[in-house]
Amino acid sequence: MSWLHLIIALPFLCAILVPFLYQQFNPRIHTGWFILIVPLIIFLGLSSYIPAVSAGKIFYLTLPWIPAYDINLTAYIDGLSLTFALIISGIGFLVIWYSIYYLSRLKEALHNFYIYLLLFMGSMLGLVFSDNIFVLYVFWELTSISSFLLIAYWYEREKSRSGAQKSLLITVFGGLSMLAGFILLSMITDTYSIREMISQAAIIQAHLLFIPAMILILLGAFTKSAQFPFSIWLPDAMEAPTPISAYLHSATMVKAGIYIVARCTTIFGGDPAWFWLVTGIGLITLLYGSINAVRQTDLKALLAYSTISQLGLIMSLLGLGSAALYFQVGSAGTFYAIAIFAAIFHMVNHAVFKGCLFMAVGIIDHELGTRDIRRLGGLMHFMPVSFLMILVGSLSMAGLPPFNGFLSKELFFTSFLNALKMPFFNMETWGIILLIAAWVASVFTFVYCMIIIFKTFLGKKKDHKLKKKAHEAPVGMLIPPLILAALVVAIFFCPNVLAQHLLQPAWEAVLPALAATAPLVIKISPWHGFNTALLLTIGVIAAGTVLYITYEKWRSVYRYYPEALTLNNLYEWMLEKTEAGSRTITNWYMTGLVRDYLVYILGFTILLVGGTAVFFEGLAFDSSRDAAVNVYELVLLIGMVIAALTVLLAKSRLTSVIAVGTLGFMVVFFFVLLRAPDLALTQLVVETVTTVLFLLCLYHLPKLRREKIPLRFKAVNGVVSVAIGLVMTAVALSANSNQLFTSISGYYLDADKLAGAKNIVNAILVDFRGFDTMLEILVLTMAGFGVYTLIKLQLAVRRKENEGTK
């Protein structure tokens, strides 16, 4: 147990307290004020690790959980996990603060909200710190579950529920395939620790299962990080309260996939398949997200698509940077690895400016009751502070100075320009296409950033379309986004503080081998002359402005896209078909008839018992030890067969009951002949009483009807019965023929000495196995009570009925 483990466990522990706090203090004090302390402690606690980590130190702390299976809670702090954890706790702090004003303490179920939020925070921290793949997977799925709960927070809305379901289905599907990928990796390397897997990267790369493991893990990462074509869940997840959208669905949870890809870069990086999959999917997502964002009219949906596109951007950079591990790369590795640095840098920047944007949009939604662009406009004079935040966030996202987005956008272009020079992976031909795709996506990014600013805050005010009067939010609500806006500017002016303390160590954590041989020396500066990257940015601004001004003229292009071909339709179709299919299958075999279920049970008995006997060569037939058969026995045997068949064919109840009785008495004879006097006596008594009981009940039960069973059913019944008979015969024969070990009965033959009894069977029942007999008597008593009450109860009912009629 260490401080770090406590930090990870803290949100979970505090989640237990939430209901009590809520009960005690709501509605006097907003529950959020108590929760606010948790991320603050975590943030400060983690900050203390910054100096050591930036000096290159790595912490590796183990807490045994299931040591027998080599599954331990191993926390692993390096630059990458620390950067993520600081984002999680830092943004978490601001989001909780913001939520205090966003969620009314009088109307909302705050205790649920904060429990889910803490659950998420804890599992996200656990995810980034875990070294053991199974622990990591558990935390991974916990984030999916808490995301599900938070999206469905307003569960009375149909859209919230369907959005939550969609996100859960997609991310859990990815999580499961990631687990399969991890298991493949552990089969290759014989370890559950990611760190040890990384040290065996060469073995993994040469293994046959390399590509399947890679694809499975990427499925997990792509579904979580909303990459194309799994991105459809993210816009629907916007049904969650805005603090959640800002926190889970832009700053942290959707970055989990980025984290996994970055973590696994050392394992898979350098392979062309990894390079093309990550870069390609990332770029497609970047384009898809930015082009779709432009057409949105709901501000939150627009931000959702922009998040998808930005995640694609980060993903594509991670893919480009993985080329640094290609075996022929030589000394140019660090040159390409700038892309990884750009990815981490942009990830931090995105968390900051997108958090700010989401909170600002949340303020608009909260104060005006709508976030539809068509109803908004001219808000600048009424909400100046919000305008400022939107302006800072959007311009940063568009990649303009003096905001942090500009710096990472420049690095983004630099990385693509560097990639042009790759002499492998066919980049001579493809490099320029990638660059063009990245540039086009940036143009669309610029366009939608302008839409956010100009369509909401400038232009004519549309009062008649608003439910509430426009006014600024309370001060407390403005502070968290303002802090983020200030950070956006601060990072632009002193990026190297961040780079030195967090980004550089994070880069080294992604590429440890490269960091040891050829460390990255990078100094981010806003101005580095008129280079190609800057020219590209200027081009983006020019083209973007033109496109924005002429937007009304070309927006109709979107209408040409056939509605039936969307991914959402595919998802709906699959969901519908799966539901219908499983219902058909279930209805087909769950008939509700006892007879059918019995047939299944008996069928499986035949298969399992018979199959096992055949498969493991348990069948045997050896009649050499058989006792002789004499005439009475033969007669009795034939009599039993006749009695049994009579029961089967009897048309009247009396005949069948008497036949069963006869059968029982023949068994008594058998017991006599087979040297079992006690059994014979007992059976005689029991059989007599049973027959009497049957005859008593006959008086009350209806006559046997001819059962109208379809021939098909009869045939199945017959086949199953005969098969059961055959299996039992085979079992009986084999049991006799396979004398695997000698009987244990020899011990009981000393009954006289051990228990002072002459009758061995009685001694076994009352002495050696006395407890069994006692419980048997208990069963008999219970059955007796059952019989008694069943008869008595009826009398009571009848009496009451009689009184009623009188």
Partner: protein, 112 residues
């Protein structure tokens, strides 16, 4: 003898199973009863038949039939009796209250 017994056991099981699969409660009860006999004989046969005298000390024999299956069967007979009795009364009650002894009509509620 063991071979003959094994065949009889198979027949008893087959008849019992066929009865259990039918619709009438009475037939089902009779089926369980017959399967009970089958099980008892199976246990007895597995221990070997007529390998010596009855398991009573003090008789003038040196070998005894295996006593352990007999002890097991004794328990089985009694339990079988208890369940048959309960089952019988239960079906009688069910018929009185619900007016049918057809298992297909005793399906209870449709919970969908």
């Amino acid at each position: 003898m063991e071979t003959c017994m094994s065949i009889i056991i198979g027949i008893l099981f087959a008849v019992g199973t066929y009865l259990i699969l039918s619709k009438t409660l009475l037939r089902i009860i009779l089926g369980t009863s017959i399967i009970g006999h089958g099980v008892n004989l199976l246990l007895l046969t597995m221990g070997g038949l007529k390998k010596g005298g009855p398991p009573l000390l003090g008789l003038n024999t040196l070998t005894f039939t295996d006593p352990l299956p007999q002890a097991l069967i004794l328990t089985a007979i009694v339990i079988n009796f208890a369940t048959t009795a309960l089952f019988l009364v239960l079906s009688y009650r069910a018929y009185k209250v619900l007016g049918t002894d057809d298992v297909e009509q005793l399906r209870g509620y449709n919970d969908e």
